[in-house]
Symmetry: C2
Subunit: 703 residues, 2 copies
């Protein structure tokens, strides 16, 4: 049994700090459960004893003369620790602390929070909160929350689960969903996440038989590995996770830093991790609910990103094609046989995709279902949309079409059939019961389908992290370019034959051995940015130029940095041609080593032409990373140029990622700039490795 089970399935509940006033924080959970008809025993606890909201009350949890396995604590902050101790002593398995005033307030609050979570851990008790808005198990009517959103909107059971850090965010989503008639399985607000966090709730909800789709909202994440594992578990189980993480723009991140008081972390890394683990990131509450509605209605993911559109309005068809194109869907042409059949049925139709039935459809018996049938029977669209204007507002006129569409859906259970029309709730309910989703706005329909189609697609390219390695072998001296390149070469990355030379003669000999022209660069552990001291000479044509260049470089370095240790001059072949790109590693504090790949030159900054992926990469994921960078197009016969060696690039990215993953305990960052991709092969022309500062007490740091 999942360790969070007692949180959601109590057999008897103590409400510590229960209030007789059904409008107060301590009174609302009790009122909601009494009104809702929660069936397990409820024991109000209040120092004044007596009766509370019609139930006998107790002065302490210890005084309850029955077993109790779940405590909801909403006493003032000063009394929380005692209430936790009492509850543990009574033998509860789960505690919710709704009281605020802990880590979110000050250091004292953090210390108190640490104490109570320590008590729970020692006792094997799971805790939600503190500073939580509570949780709901809707089918059992366990409404353990003080959210006023339940005042006007009664929870309705359904297949959507919601796990959110912020209670207010949860109330907003719950409220909007309830107004739309959507139903929930479980809702939980994790608050300060002293013990249970959103990731662990997702892990639990994957196992929950009442839950078909999981909505989640994060402001931050403490344990990246746990979040990854939970999302992957959901992906494998076929339950889509639709996740919101606010702070996606600079303005939002600035607001987030004033709100949480902590750095929000790199938003692009979150987006990458969600995608790699098969989740969908929603940009608005409405989008999240649209996707949840679509999946909870259809019970399926589109099996591909190809969509067929049947429409009675050419303009709306074009609009939906626009929306599909923007969101990475395809509209494959209607097969020839289906086109012919459509034209036989509707001679003035535009028998393409979108299939524009035109106004004549109203004159043809079963015109709509027969056209939809062509799309379903004769092509392989994962989703078929039908735009039906406002016909759902006339249930009698729509009845025959509705029955035909339901029959069609039953014949094609693996396809998504999505109607776009203005309609009445009872019409929608009848369609939804048979797995047909109905949207009012065409653009929102396409957006929701695109999300689920991509969730399906992502399942074939999930990032399955290998077990993390223990302390890694010492890296050696990677502080110089030469050392960094040697380490990368040893890891299997392509590095040119090059030599550190201690004299002009040695440099000239080395150059002659490798062939002209060559490059010469100063080597010093104290000079990271060589160009700033004039420490790089390009295109040296012969031995004399190399010998002179050696002297020049040593002199420049001594002049610019008199104190720098100089190890000599690096001589390497001068590469001509090829495409300059950049690759690197950035250690994210939450998610560990991330591979960075991007455009060379100014484009990486100017156009943000860069993408991230968790290390280590598989060959397939390396290719996917390359696809997310536009400059990869430059490798593919751009403007009549050659085909460059994409395989060599993909290999280099894999090797880099494996190296970083296996030395995650030692590496802070790696920058390979440029990484030149040639017609045959590739080469890391410059490399900088920054090692991690050893954390206090961290024996795995670098030495």
């Amino acid at each position: 049994m999942h360790s969070l089970h007692p949180l959601f399935h109590p057999t008897s509940v103590a409400l510590v700090g229960a209030s007789s006033d059904p409008e107060r924080i301590g009174g609302r959970p009790l009122r909601f459960m009494l009104e809702g008809g929660f069936e397990a025993p409820l024991y109000p606890v209040n120092r004044s004893g007596d009766t509370i909201q019609g139930l006998p009350a107790y002065a302490s949890v210890r005084d309850i003369p029955h077993p109790v396995d779940h405590a909801i604590i909403c006493v003032p902050v000063a009394g929380v620790e005692a209430a936790v101790r009492d509850s543990i002593a009574k033998g509860v398995k789960a505690i919710q602390v709704l009281t605020a005033g802990f880590a979110e307030v000050d250091a004292e609050g953090l210390a108190l929070q640490d104490r109570i979570v320590g008590l729970c851990r020692d006792a094997g008790v799971r805790m939600v909160g503190p500073n939580s808005l509570g949780l709901l198990n809707v089918p059992t009517r366990f409404f353990a929350t003080f959210s006023t959103a339940l005042n006007g909107l009664k929870p309705r059971p359904g297949p959507i689960a919601l796990a959110t850090q912020s209670g207010a965010f949860g109330s907003a989503a719950y409220g909007a969903a309830s107004l739309r008639g959507l139903g929930f399985s479980k809702i939980v607000a994790t608050g300060n996440e002293a013990d249970v966090d959103v990731a662990e709730c997702i892990d639990y909800l994957v196992d929950d038989p009442d839950t078909r789709v999981i909505c989640a909202a994060l402001e931050s994440c403490r344990d990246g590995d746990r979040l990854r594992a939970a999302l992957l578990k959901a992906a494998h189980a076929g339950k889509p996770v639709v996740i919101m993480k606010v702070g996606r723009t600079e303005l939002g991140a600035a607001a987030a830093s004033t709100h949480t008081g902590s750095l929000a972390g790199d938003d692009a890394v979150y987006a990458t991790v969600f995608e790699e683990c098969g989740a969908w990131r929603a940009a608005s509450i409405e989008e999240m609910l649209d996707i949840a509605y679509l999946h909870s209605t259809t019970g399926r993911l589109p099996q591909n990103t190809d969509v067929g559109v049947v429409t009675g309005s050419g303009g709306i068809g074009i609009l939906m094609a626009d929306d599909a194109g923007e969101r990475g869907l395809q509209l494959s042409p209607l097969p020839a046989a289906a086109r012919a059949a459509a034209l036989e049925l509707l001679p003035f139709a535009v028998a393409s995709n979108p299939l524009d039935m035109t106004a004549q459809v109203t004159a043809v018996p079963q015109g709509v279902p027969r056209t939809v049938a062509l799309m379903l029977d004769q092509a392989d669209y994962g989703t078929v949309f039908a735009y039906l204007a406002h016909v759902g507002l006339s249930p009698q006129r729509f009845a025959a079409t509705q029955a035909e569409l339901i029959a069609l859906k039953q014949r094609h259970p693996h396809r998504l059939l999505v109607l776009v029309m203005l309609s009445r709730p009872e019409v929608n309910a009848a369609l939804e019961q048979h797995g047909i989703a109905v949207f009012e706005d065409p653009s929102r329909a396409v957006q929701a389908v695109a999300a689920l189609a991509h969730v399906h697609q992502r399942r074939s390219a999930l990032h399955l992290p290998p077990p993390s390695t223990g302390p890694s072998a010492p890296l050696g001296n990677v502080a110089t370019e030469d050392g960094a390149k040697r380490a990368l070469a040893a890891a299997g990355l392509p590095v040119l034959p090059e030599r550190i030379c201690r004299s002009a003669t040695e440099a000239a000999e080395a150059a002659s051995a490798m062939g002209y022209p060559v490059v010469a660069k100063i080597v010093s552990p104290d000079i990271v940015h060589k160009t700033e001291v004039g420490g790089v000479l390009l295109n040296l044509p012969d031995a004399q130029a190399v010998a002179e260049g050696f002297a020049t470089l040593m002199q420049r370095a001594q002049t610019a940095r008199p104190d720098a240790r100089l190890d000599g001059v690096l001589v390497a072949p001068m590469l001509k041609g090829g495409v300059e790109l950049i690759a690197g590693i950035h250690r994210d504090p939450t998610f560990g080593p991330m591979v960075m790949f991007g455009s060379g030159g100014t484009a990486v900054e100017l156009f943000k032409d860069v993408a991230f992926a968790s290390a280590p990469l598989t060959p397939q994921r390396a290719r996917a990373l390359m696809e997310r960078v536009r400059s990869t197009q430059l490798l593919r016969g751009w403007r009549g140029g050659p085909q460059y060696d994409e395989q060599a690039l993909a290999d280099a990215l894999c090797r880099l990622s494996e190296f970083a993953f296996s030395h995650a305990d030692q590496i802070e960052s790696i920058d390979i700039n440029p990484l030149v991709v040639r017609v045959q092969g590739a080469a890391c022309l410059d490399a900088v490795i920054a090692v991690r500062a050893p954390a206090p007490g961290d024996s795995h740091g670098t030495h």
Copy 2:
């Protein structure tokens, strides 16, 4: 009086093709008007005579024994011409042809359409259609449409006008708006636009006192100048135009071309023209209606793009900051005095922007209005948002706050106050009556405000086209690079001193006079792409190299293109440094000469780093065009580089645009690639001008 007035304000109406069956196309308009209570006389016309839907019917319009000033024609296509003739003979001022089967079907239909519009023009009668769904003047209950959307949804008067080419699109927007409770002034579907088009309807609606905001939907546009003029008129009148043009992605454009059978035109040009003329382009019907709702409720545009956010949920505040950042809004910090006052009121608040009241706000009397007042009284936000969760669902609890917010709004009539909350319709209605808008979804609220804030901002940078010039002076020979550059130089663009040389000696002398190094290029009217024949030599260091280069270029050209006429070799100084950009002119068939400005090198294609503007440019609009191209950042001390001469670039763009505008009758396109911007000045290093092929019978073409 506007010439479209009789279309919307008939004093007596003939329905030609009226049907006794209230469900048929000929029966619906009559039924809608009878049910609605249209007060002017209605005369059904039907060959069978007799009574129709309770009214006396006539065999012909000519038989009506009363004056008639408006005819609605819905007879079968074969009878339309006669009906038009009869109506004109009867003396109508306005005709709607709802019948389909004209230009949208075949050449015969087009010819018939041309005939009936000719009849109308000769008689001074304005015509909507053919193939129109009709029009509505909602306040007078003139429901002259056969749209079945009116079956379930009765039109409700309000300040929103809708002008749409596609009737189905219009029905979709009408239906969705009506379900939301939005009301309309006028609705018109222009259909085939043989006479009246959407642009002219916008022009009319600007004058309409019942209309406060204009929604429009286009599939194409025949007369770019008319559309520009109508949008500018609306901008000057302070009526926002929210416009949809489908076909904005490649997929959508492909769908559009199968639908309309014609090329959709360059979508980017439409987007540019809408922006230059102060309109807002909406991407979805829902967005269009959100903006219309916001403006029709508040009656104002935000006076700036700065917004203040008051929230009870930190997470929602960050989400709204995200949305604001994505849509070009700012969240200026709260002034110090307001911060102090906020903290005095709510000690645990995050007194920033967003101003997070936290849960404590519920404990403070008038906490919400007092915080909102701080934002309104002590700062200059054009819009203040308040996120109030679900309090609108509890009208009694919200009553005091509601009254305070209304009082605040009355004290600040020029600011937008937008509430985001779940609410009941009666609560919203009370707030809306006082100019306060209410949205359920925070992201949609921010999106709508951003649109109107940008509409306001655009008014200060409108494109006011000067009167188009008549036939322009001959361009001379612009077929060669030399000729093109001379024409541009004469127009005031910066061109390097350069000379066409006929011999090696002349070339060497010219080079010596301008100083080394130089560039040499072949000059031939038959060779447009010089690099393809090896016709460019760079970096020639001295006279000997130039003399040899002359021979090389002549020989290469003769070898590659034996038939080409060779005018000699162009010698020019070799420029070092500077930023390479591109500029040009593209003549859009609808909107005339458009200036194109973009990144040099691969970025223009790879990152679509290019923007358009209508010619001619003012200095201000040239600067605005530069801001829309990311590579303009390269001119501004990028990565420690110098500041380049932006003024020279802006001047060059202005001169180019004026040249193209004044020779619009002769120029098809101009490409300046590269246009090099230097620390001082700029230079067109290469230029190609394509002249327009003279149109048949076009005396203004090039000769």
